[in-house]
Amino acid sequence: MTAASPPVIDLPPAVDPADHARLRRTYEPIRGFYAWLASVDHKSIAKRYIATCLVFFALGGLEAAVIRAQLSRPENGLVGPDTYNQVFTMHGTTMMFLFAVPIMQAMGLYLVPLMVGAKETAFPRLNALGYWVFLIGGVFIYTGFFLNAGADAGWFAYVPLSGPEYSSGKRVDIWAQMITFTEIAALIAALQTIATVLKLRAPGMSLNRMPLFLWAQLVTAFMVIFAMPSVATGSLFLSFDRLVGSQFYNPAEGGDALLWQHLFWFFGHPEVYIIFIPALGFISQIVTTFTRRPVVGYPVMVLALLVTAFMSFGLWVHHMFATTVPQLGSTFFTAASTLIAVPTGVQIFCWIATLWLGRPVWRTPLLFVMGFIAVFTIGGLTGVMVASVPFDLQAHDSYFVVAHLHYVLLGGAVFPLFAAFYYWFPKITGRLMNERLGRWNFWLLFVGVNVTFFPMHRLGLEGMTRRVYTYLESTGWGTLNLVSSVGAVIIVAGMAVFVVNLARSWRGGAVAGANPWDADTLEWATSSPPPPYNFADPIVVTSRSGLWAYGDEIPVLQGLRTDLPQVLVTTVMDAEPVLRHIHPSPTIAPFVMAVIIGAMLIGGIFTPWAYPAGLVAIGVPWLMWAWPRRRSYEHQEELKGTFSLEAPI
């Protein structure tokens, strides 16, 4: 990985340049494989996270390719129903649980500490634990899949189909347990983000000076905290129904199939926004940078994020209109589902206004932003259509909804994510991605997405239902399905260009330097890639415009230890320094704990006793983790003077 690292230039500002060497020793005390396992550096963990998510993205994409190949003509025999059901379940599960949500959080784990100007994330060891748990969960479900035990009840796993009677074997158990794995990881990342954004911001970065990306990540983290427990509870109930014969979802014994749907969608709908809101954060940063001006209407943008997050918890029943919802309820949920378009619409207007007022620089990231506006707007408008109960009862569970959701998720998450890759790739690797290939990537993806998914609107209205492994020739759906499959080939070509670009730029892209785009946020104030300690002296933020506001010098505070990993903790509202927090050193305890949690959860699909046994066993790495370790360090000479923030602001 380090083979082709570019020359490190532009080290972060430090009053005493000798600090760089000291900090490097402190933050990188050991090297080698053990150090890799024990690493608690948020950058290296986030890079692994992103890479893992991209591998799952590729697997999910291959599954989508199988789906499109199978459906390209009527009564196709490429795969049978059993394989097809596993493939489409794995596609949905992978894309939602192993790609979309975690990669948005992983991008946050990399960028949030840098963007707040901190040396580390708030809880580095917890961070490592989250990643390992995620990895084990993802590998676990794919191991099952390759052993012909892939979940086959859909990514939504409706009971009773996913229950003990109708889904035999361990397939659904593996799925339900994978949910638990990814929940743990997602909740850890959320907790991480909340503490980092609220407590580790650079001095002077008061809430109203926070970049919109940080707002987006913060809002998302709170949504994760309230949404994820719902599906975790639901899937635990499901695994108990399947393993020990509890009756949560058994209608014959007073349980209720709709209880699952409520629990699932109370998570499932906010989840869409958990994926989408970080993407809005990407867009805001990229628009700012490439129009060379702040986004118009900062308070409105923040308010829109908050309103979206709040409202997204009042929409879940619109996934259940066909189950018969009482009149009053359906009125409420229709109104909420319709009106959530307002905050999103306002944000799009703000970006358009920013483009209009600024002088756009047409690099690949901004191109992807334009793609986002086009594709996402179509998805949003069909979203308003399906919010209407009478029309939804026609469109629900048809290919119209398949089209809608792919427009929303590809437009609202994948396009912004690609924009973000092109934008932050130089920060992560120190090299720029190729512009020419970037344009090819964009246009192939843009054309491919529209060719693949636009015909599906029509297919849905013509009665093609979701999750069918094939269809009769007499339905007349063959032509549009073929068009759609051709579009999938174009998407694959676009993705291939991306992979080539990634590989080529990784080795031989142009050296980026600290701030290749002349952007305003703090992550660009350190070298690319950043040193293990991110920043030397804490940078003082003087305005919402971040780096753009500085003159010839960057104001910093002095006085953090260099012999110990120490971060500056500030107040929640105004980001005034209050505490010099000493961070933990690298340890293998999180890895060990993740392995034990993995053994507990995997064992839990065979016997309920795995849970108490696992809980006790976790005590061992917990003691490894928390046991005090005497750290020897030379005492530094006291710096004279007191801190004050008033002067520069």
Partner: protein, 318 residues
């Protein structure tokens, strides 16, 4: 035999309810297209407009932009509000209690076929059939939906919206067909291996034809006219068929699979998978797992003579 194409599209409404939803769809579509064009024009213009070199960059321009954004937000709210009022008004009127004179049909979803039972106060007049629903044109039909196993969903796009069949819950769906014809539907909620091939055909016909049909359905199965057919009946009753299937007027009374009393009168076999021809039926009986892998009907290795007799018998069940 030519197979009439059955309508299967929300874009070709053939009931009072589907028609009104179709109009709502047209309205929403027009609004969506207009909004999309407006947004794209604004975005493209903002992105690639010609910029004077000495353009004013004073904060006053930001204030103007704020006003435009505010106007855009107000327009969004206004459009959504109109759409919302239309939605809710239509939704309300569609869920209102329908006419009193209604044909009530019980639909039970099974993995992977539809059980259809016409209710009637007189027990002899009740009719059980499968995968085919006949209704008279112009009369409101109420479907009482239930499931025998997992969740299914009833959706005939030309006749109106869908409703789920949920074990432990009772749902109702009604529509008033306005045009005679054939309307196909298939299960809309993922229900397992053969979810793709779980179709039903709705036959909308004038009330005279409907009356004929239902009267024919009320009769028990025809008695075999010849010895070969009689042997087929014996094969059916004593062989594996009767374990799962029923034929009214015989000793076959299985309840696991569809009722076959008038199978020869139906257009389709295997829940809309195969046209009802002798060859298809033979293939289906001998090796259903090839045609619908995972279906609950087992392969039946009948002696060729038995099979021919059985096919004769089933063909006689008009």
């Amino acid at each position: 035999m030519t197979w009439l194409q059955a309508a299967h599209s929300a874009l070709h409404p053939a009931s009072a309810q589907a028609d009104r939803v179709g109009r709502l769809y047209n309205f929403l579509l027009i609004v969506a297209v207009l909004v999309f064009v407006a947004v794209m024009v604004a975005a493209l213009w903002a992105a690639w407009r010609r910029r004077p070199i000495d353009e004013d960059t004073s904060p006053a321009r930001d204030a103007r932009a704020h006003r435009v954004i505010f106007a855009g937000a107000a327009a969004t709210v206004a459009i959504l509000f109109v759409a919302l009022v239309y939605d809710l008004a239509l939704g309300r009127s569609l869920t209102r209690r329908a006419t009193r004179e209604m044909l009530t049909v019980r639909i039970t979803g099974h993995q992977w076929w539809w059980e259809v039972e016409y209710e009637d106060p007189t027990p002899q007049n009740r009719v059980r059939t499968a995968n085919e629903l006949h209704v008279p044109v112009g009369q409101t039909v109420a479907l009482k939906l239930a499931s025998a196993d997992v969740i299914h969903s009833f959706w005939a796009p030309s006749l109106g919206g869908k409703k789920d069949l949920i074990p432990g819950h009772h749902n109702e769906l009604w529509f008033t067909p306005t045009e005679p014809g054939l309307y196909r539907m298939q299960c809309a909620e993922f229900c397992g291996l053969q979810h793709a091939y779980m179709a039903l055909e709705v036959v909308v016909e004038d009330s005279k034809k409907f009356a004929q049909w239902i009267n024919a359905q009320r009769k028990p199965a025809a008695t075999p006219p010849d010895t070969l057919t009689a042997r087929g009946k014996l094969v059916f009753e004593s062989g594996p068929c009767a374990t799962c299937h029923a034929i009214a007027g015989t000793s076959a009374a299985g309840t696991i699979g569809p009722d076959l009393t008038h199978i020869a009168s139906r257009r389709w076999l295997a829940s809309g998978r195969l046209g009802n021809t002798r060859a298809n039926l033979a293939g289906w009986i001998v090796d259903p797992q090839r045609i619908k892998p995972g279906v609950l009907m087992p392969s039946n290795g009948l002696e060729p003579a038995d099979l021919q007799a059985l096919l004769n018998y089933l063909a006689s069940l008009k």
